[in-house]
C-alpha cells in the first residue's frame, strides 16, 4: 500500500519537475521548419560591373548611380583619371519577390538599356544548393546620330544579352557566382569581332565585417577572334552596406556599365596597369509599404 502511494507521488513530482523541459519538447515536436530562403548572397544588385543573382523584393525601387573614372595610368595631367568620367543612372523595380525590371542610361556610347531579372531558383537548405537567376537585357546605342550616319537603322543600334547568374552563399562571409553569358551585338567590326559572343564569368564576395565586403569579378570571353581589340574585364572592389545604401568602390579595366560594353567592349589590360577607379551608389526605396507589421 505504502509503495503504491509513494511511487505515483514520485512519478508525479518528477513530472512536475521536468514539466518545463517536457513542455519545450512538446512544443519543439510541433514545430515544422520550412527551409527558409538563403538571403543576402550579395549586398548590391551588382557584384561590381555585372549583375548579382539577386532580385529586388516586391515594391522595392533601387536608384543606382554608377561612375567610372579614366585610367589611373593616364598620369598627373588627367589627375590619374579623375578628370574623365563615365556615368550610368538607372532604376530597378521589384514586380514580385523574384522578378525585377530595370532601365538605365549610360554616357558611355550614350546607351539606353532595359532589362529583366527573374530568380528561377532560390538557395534553400536541403532543397537547392544554389540561386539561379535569369538576366535578359536590350541595349540601344544612340551615339551615332542620323545626321552623321544617314544609313543607320534602329536595328543597327541594338545589342542583346542573356545571362544565367548561378550563385551560392557558402557561409555568412563567402558567396561565389558563376555567370554563363551570351551577348549579341547587331553591328560590330567584322574584321576583329564576332556579333555573338559567349563568355563565362566568375564573381565572389567575402565579408570582412557586417558592413564591409571584398568583391571580385572576371569574365572570360570564349569565342574571340585572334585580332580582337578588346580584353577580358576584371574588377576588384569593396562593398560598404549601410542599411538602405550600398556603396561600392573598385578598380576595373571596364568603362562600360552595361553587359555589351563590359563583356564585349572592354579595352585595356588590367594587369598591365590599364585600370580605373569607379564607384556604384545605390539607394533602396520601399514603394508599397504594406503595414505588414501590424496585422494579426
Amino acid at each position: 500500500m505504502k509503495i503504491s502511494i509513494v511511487l505515483p507521488l514520485m512519478i508525479f513530482n518528477s513530472i512536475a519537475l521536468f514539466a518545463q523541459d517536457d513542455l519545450m519538447k512538446l512544443l519543439e515536436a510541433e514545430l515544422k521548419e520550412e527551409p527558409s530562403e538563403i538571403i543576402q548572397t550579395f549586398d548590391g544588385s551588382r557584384v561590381v560591373n555585372g549583375h548579382a543573382a539577386k532580385a529586388l523584393s516586391k515594391g522595392e525601387l533601387e536608384f543606382l548611380i554608377m561612375h567610372r573614372f579614366g585610367r589611373i595610368n593616364s598620369g598627373a595631367y588627367n589627375l590619374f583619371g579623375l578628370d574623365q568620367a563615365f556615368i550610368r543612372l538607372g532604376f530597378e523595380y521589384g514586380i514580385t519577390d523574384n522578378m525585377s525590371i530595370g532601365l538605365g542610361r549610360s554616357s558611355f556610347d550614350k546607351s539606353y538599356d532595359f532589362y529583366f531579372k527573374d530568380k528561377l531558383i532560390s538557395q534553400r537548405k536541403n532543397v537547392s544548393p544554389v540561386t539561379v537567376t535569369l538576366f535578359s537585357s536590350l541595349a540601344i546605342n544612340s551615339s551615332q546620330r542620323k545626321i552623321d550616319f544617314p544609313d543607320i537603322t534602329f536595328n543597327d543600334r541594338l545589342a542583346f544579352t542573356n545571362q544565367l547568374l548561378i550563385a551560392r552563399k557558402f557561409n555568412s562571409k563567402l558567396s561565389l557566382q558563376l555567370m554563363p553569358v551570351f551577348v549579341h551585338t547587331n553591328v560590330v567590326d567584322q574584321d576583329s569581332e564576332f556579333n555573338s559572343l559567349f563568355a563565362l564569368g566568375f564573381a565572389g564576395r567575402y565579408k570582412l565585417t557586417k558592413s564591409l565586403a571584398l568583391t571580385a569579378e572576371y569574365y572570360n570571353r570564349l569565342n574571340v577572334k585572334q585580332n580582337s581589340v578588346y580584353n577580358n574585364p576584371v574588377a576588384i572592389g569593396i562593398d560598404i552596406e549601410t542599411g538602405g545604401h550600398v556603396f561600392q568602390i573598385h578598380v576595373t579595366n571596364a568603362f562600360g556599365m552595361i553587359e555589351r560594353a563590359i563583356i564585349a567592349e572592354t579595352t585595356g589590360h588590367f594587369f598591365r596597369g590599364d585600370f580605373n577607379l569607379g564607384f556604384n551608389i545605390s539607394r533602396s526605396f520601399q514603394l508599397n509599404k504594406q503595414k505588414r507589421s501590424k496585422s494579426w
Binding site: F12, I15, Q20, L27, S36, I38, W296
Partner: protein, 176 residues
Amino acid sequence: MRTLLFILISVQCTLAQKYKLDKSLVSFFSSAPIEDIRAGNTKSNSIFNLANGEIVISIPINQFQFDKALMQQHFNEKYMESGKYPRATFQGKISGIEKVQYQQEVLAIGIMNIHGVNQAIEIPGQLTLNKDQIDMKAVFKVILDDYKIKIPAIMWKNIAEEIEVTVNFIYKPYEN
C-alpha cells in the same frame, strides 16, 4: 489502490490543463533619430500549463514582417543572424494566477533566449481566463546589448539600443 487511482487521475487533470497558442502577435518597435522600425510576427508557438503556470514560447525570427523588405533582410542577416539562431525562446513560469474569470496582473519569470544568449528575466503582464480561452498581454523592453546584438557605428542613428516588444497571445485548450 484507490489512492493510486486518485493520483493518476489528478496527474491526468494537470495534463488536461495545458493550453496551446491559437492566435498570436509579437511585435516590436524601435525609435531612433533617423527612422522608426516596427515589425510583427504571427507565427509564434507556445504551450501554457494552467495547473502550475509553466509556459514555453518559441518565436521564429525570420517570420518577423517589416514594412520594408530590405530592412527585414538586414534584420535577419546582420543583426539577429537568424540562420544561426532561428528562434527566440522563453521558458518559465507565470506566477500570481487566480483561477477566476477576469483580467489579472501576473508575472512571468524565466529564461529568455534571443540571438543564442540566455537571460533571466521577469515580465509583468495581463492574463485573462475565459471559458476555453486564455488571453495574455505583455509589453516589455529588450536591451540589444544584453543579447549581444551589435549595431555598427554607422547605423546607430537608425537603430535604437532598446526595443519595445509587445506580446498578444490567445490560448485554446491543448488537444492531442
